[in-house]
Symmetry: C2
Subunit: 143 residues, 2 copies
């Protein structure tokens, strides 16, 4: 049976949680705000409150199912945690998000933390720039 991941998180398999997980799995760019999720639920005709979206996303985050990112936008964006760690490149013009993983950088971070007497729990590396996508021009309008 599906939705095992929800059950594994110790959560009841309810309609809102199923639908929200579905959206995260299907969403093209995979990086969505709570509002984004909420709007897509409405488009699908689902009657799910924004508060529930936040609650579910927070629970999913606690369960390690999704990751929350705080880019420079003033709100959080979420993405399904598909296992492999990666960092992000965000286009400041169109909002497009690319992912990357760089072993060299990861190793250096570890070393730097040691040098400064920190025990690293997490890190966030985000590059901001302009992408070369031909469609890149207009603002994405998250709100």
């Amino acid at each position: 049976m599906d939705n095992q991941e929800i059950r594994d998180a110790g959560l009841k398999v309810t309609l809102p949680r199923i639908k929200i997980l579905e959206i995260l799995e299907q969403n093209p760019d995979l990086h969505v705000s709570a509002e984004d999720v909420y709007k897509r639920l409405l488009e699908k005709g689902e009657e799910i409150g924004l508060a529930t979206v936040y609650r579910v996303l927070t629970q999913f985050e606690a369960a390690g199912l999704v990751q929350r990112h705080n880019f420079e936008s003033g709100y959080s964006v979420f993405e399904l945690d598909r296992g492999g760690h990666h960092d992000h490149i965000v286009c400041v013009r169109c909002g497009r998000v690319a992912e990357f993983y760089d072993e060299t950088i990861e190793k250096r971070q570890q070393k730097i933390a040691e040098e400064h007497g920190f025990e690293i729990k997490d890190h966030s590396l985000t590059l901001y720039g302009h992408c070369t996508d031909p469609k890149c021009k207009e603002k994405k309008g998250k709100k």
Copy 2:
């Protein structure tokens, strides 16, 4: 004459701006929230509104005088832009902030951006962890 930096930013040299700049220059850890600045102004007996603090900090940011960071804390922190670029290590227990600069990482970022067809404008690298400072234990309580 002092406060030339304010004049150079195209801003009138007013008392609030002078005082706020002073605080940024004097503050021990150099990473303060708008509230922090506001509270220190009050301590000094200055009658400056929180709204003004936000306005001035935003103007200073636009002028390149200060940098704004969005760590995972839910509010922005500001620091004087003393020229040299650097990244941050934030202690998730006590809020302490350390700075570092790593040439290797900087170079890799450039290369990665190229590979993904991005022209980098900026980046943000923040490590989160526990520091080994003996005083580190209690929350810092920004509010």
